[in-house]
């Protein structure tokens, strides 16, 4: 007969650490720290060929940004440094018809981004980033003026209102061969 009062032997937890280490190493190997962030864009759909051409846009409402194969930046045919692009884009967008060769109003303004086949992706992203920043800063300014808050802190309806005031119109033109400068 077995004894009635047997002490419960303590389970040895010494190997718990080893098991945890194994799990830890498994996760270290199979996962990455890589977070998915990026600049969101929408591509234009391919238009049917027999469509009538779209109505022309006034030249002053188009902000032509051009990057050649040497990663030189040209804005409306003038050479420009990437550092100055943000300020220049903001000046163009928030002109409201004051200056002659800038936009009539933000709703009509279009930024046309053209690049060469030899442009580096890094430069392209830098320019995209500066143009997005220009829009974001203007939206923040407008949001602060109207609601006293930053754009991201607004509710959906207010965000929509600001977005309609500063619609992000960045057109990535069809590929061309611009050559080096």
């Amino acid at each position: 007969m077995a004894s009635r009062r047997r002490e419960n032997p303590e389970i040895n937890a010494g190997s718990m650490a080893d098991i945890a280490f194994l799990l830890l190493i498994f996760f270290l190997v199979t996962t990455t720290m890589d977070t998915d962030t990026g600049i969101a864009r929408k591509l234009p759909p391919i238009l049917p060929e027999n469509l009538p051409p779209p109505p022309p846009i006034k030249e002053k409402n188009v902000f032509v940004v051009l990057i050649n194969s040497n990663d030189n930046l040209f804005v409306d045919d003038d050479y420009m440094d990437v550092k100055d692009l943000r300020a220049e884009a903001k000046r163009f967008l928030s002109n409201f018809g004051r200056l002659e060769n800038y936009s009539d109003n933000p709703q009509k303004a279009v930024i046309s981004l053209q690049n060469d086949r030899g442009t580096s992706y890094e430069m392209f992203i830098a320019v995209q980033n500066e143009l997005t920043a220009a829009y974001n800063e203007l939206r923040d300014e407008e949001a602060n003026k109207r609601f006293g808050k930053d754009f991201v802190d607004l509710n959906e309806r207010q965000q929509k209102e600001i977005q309609d005031f500063y619609p992000q119109k960045i057109s990535e033109a069809e590929p061309v061969n611009l050559g080096g400068g």
């Binding site: 650490a17 720290m33 890589d34 030899g118 992706y121």
Partner: protein, 159 residues
């Protein structure tokens, strides 16, 4: 007779390792929360450029990835050093995008197909010619929502 007599042969007490599992578990949970599962084995170099105005991709299940870059060093002998595109686990040619797009779209349920985003993960050394070709193919395949994958930081901050 000295007062401070050395006590004979004192043994070091064993350090308790009872809390070791707890520490390791904390580490484990940290990694489980902060990292994501590897989707594919990268066959191309992928040093993404920096940008400040980034948005986070919200729903992983609605994102498809295109990797662009020069083949990794150990594959150069076989594939050369010209930038290539990687879809899923292998190199792909431009005309394979259409097929791939259909497969990616089939994989998610019908109500959410309009939300499908293509994340373009290109190396910063890649020339825009290849990227533009891929964008054209995506337009043909009706995959219009794209995302240029970047790291968060000041532009050109690794120059």
């Amino acid at each position: 007779m000295s007062k401070f007599k050395k006590k004979g042969s004192r043994v070091m007490p064993a350090i308790s390792t009872a809390s070791l599992p707890d520490i390791v578990f904390i580490l484990l949970f940290f990694f489980m929360v902060t990292t994501t599962m590897r989707e594919v084995t990268l066959l191309v170099d992928n040093r993404k450029p920096f940008a400040t105005e980034v948005e986070k991709l919200q729903r992983k299940s609605l994102v498809s990835y295109i990797y662009i870059g020069a083949p990794k060093t150990f594959l150069r002998g076989q594939f050369g050093s010209e930038p290539r595109m990687q879809l899923n686990d292998s190199y792909a040619k431009l005309n394979e995008i259409g097929q791939w797009a259909i497969a990616e779209r089939e994989a998610i349920n019908e109500a959410e197909r309009a939300l499908l985003t293509v994340s373009i993960k290109a190396d910063k050394e890649v020339k825009m010619g290849l990227v533009t070709d891929i964008k054209q193919e995506l337009r043909k395949a009706q995959m219009l929502k794209i995302n240029y994958s970047t790291r968060k930081g000041e532009i050109f901050s690794d120059r």
